[in-house]
Subunit: 339 residues, 2 copies
Amino acid sequence: MKIREIGEFGLIDKLVGRLGPGDESVVVGIGDDAAVTAYASGTHVVTTTDMLVEGVHFRTDTIDDRSLGYKSLAVSISDIAAMGARPRHAVISLAIPVEMDVERLEDLYAGVADICAEFATVVVGGDITKTSGPLVISVTLLGEIEAGRALLRSGAKPGDLLFVTGTVGGSAAGLDYLEHGRTTAFATRGEAEVGQLLQFHQRPRPQVVAGRLLLESGACTSLNDVSDGLASECNEIAKLSGVRLELDAEQLPLHDGVRQYAALRELDPVQWALFGGEDYQLVGTIQPTEAQRTEALFAKNSLSLTVIGRVTAEQSVGVTLHYAGQAHELKPKGYNHFG
Amino acid sequence: MKIREIGEFGLIDKLVGRLGPGDESVVVGIGDDAAVTAYASGTHVVTTTDMLVEGVHFRTDTIDDRSLGYKSLAVSISDIAAMGARPRHAVISLAIPVEMDVERLEDLYAGVADICAEFATVVVGGDITKTSGPLVISVTLLGEIEAGRALLRSGAKPGDLLFVTGTVGGSAAGLDYLEHGRTTAFATRGEAEVGQLLQFHQRPRPQVVAGRLLLESGACTSLNDVSDGLASECNEIAKLSGVRLELDAEQLPLHDGVRQYAALRELDPVQWALFGGEDYQLVGTIQPTEAQRTEALFAKNSLSLTVIGRVTAEQSVGVTLHYAGQAHELKPKGYNHFG
């Protein structure tokens, strides 16, 4: 069905119909000039915004519409997680090519509803418009955090340990599989193994619980999410904290399937972890005396936290990569939209 | 200068450099995973979002970049005003054609800074990306309101009076002047008169003070902002309140310059007021016993509030336009992006 058949307001009705119910924090939801939301006293509001453009951030041949909806919010939920906060309310705007089918947008919103249900997040507003260009998805997400407790990128201290949650490099591996792997021997593996690779790329799970555990630990000194790759994220922490990070490549937590797929492709999965991005795990620093206790806390919650390096007192700010017995200066090399 | 010469991060530095300082409500500003902001206890957060696309919402031949920056936020501030709230914090995302000059974006942000200074609003974050399509501007604005006091579209009661603030139809008149008027006799008028028409279209002033006065009056029963034209906005109030509105065209407050320009163009300025939109005044309903007192309150603040009709108890929901001695059913006819 084309949008012109139901018009702007018909489309809004269909999309809103895909969303789940609100909760008691939503005083005024979709349908007035603005939404009104209530936060617990003693908390601050945490706000992040991300804009995703077809052909730049996603392509229809590597992600289905429902996963795209899921991932569009995952990106922002991950930013909220990286502050140690809880996601609460989202607004979503779409610039839509006029020929786009209504069903595709409904699938997109089904994915939005999936992740909102998973993370107790409510969509409270949005805007839609036509465009002569590619599909643009803009998400702004509001979260809630105990006043004065936000985990920043700027608190790393010499002596702290560098850690990452979960595994890294999986999103780049999944993208590589979608682009080059479907004709390799890996494609003959079971659905679960292939599906895991695809999930790393298409439905990355933001680490809200991990962020909360790190906040509760009281020992996390800096935190960032892995959107642009570890090289870029570690450099951000180093720069904002005014420290040097020493990253040990051999300690990087890589998923077994990712290692095996990389071997098959004769590629180095460490490169995916450092420069691939979109893993949406959390990377940060922690007081050394508290690392073991925090690892145990993670394990108790079926999550993992891996020490991958340390913070040193060197004068020069930056990141040193220790890899195969050699030390390299690790440059950010994150994705530069206009590089 | 092209963006590729300074890269994504160079551009961000330049744009952030255009913005004014924060205030004590900003706990964490631009530069981390997310912003952290504090609101007074006893308040709720009001959130609105708008997406503007070049060629759909604006054209470079009818608005300069600095005014575009101003107007991009004015649209959202107006939504906050229409809740009776105060704007506080904004996030802005841009999808930018790669060939766009850096100077144009700096001008855009100068306009953002203009309106932020005027309305005590702080930009606390954003996102930029390239696009193969037209420039897209996405603004999300957070405001603050006393808990339980938001002015909705749904409270109009039979017997209430219908009002509008300021004057209406000016934005459509300004756009008409830009498209057709520059070769008319109106162009020979003084700069102030022509400038006023252009300002209605290019730098509409959101009615935050008016919204606050309406909230404080305790007599405002419904409120909406005039983004799509009075016909559309009145129908929204009628629909959400379950009432009929009677709108008297002869009472519409039209600016003298707009009347004179319309006469020159042999056009009816009432059509601009009803269907033009983008005036960003407030339209709503008020208890009849309090109308005079509220008008006086407005006058004391150098603002105007004009009664333009009333709410009736008829069974059928909608809007009746009384014009030149006849009664018409006034249909919404707002802009439909996919109509």
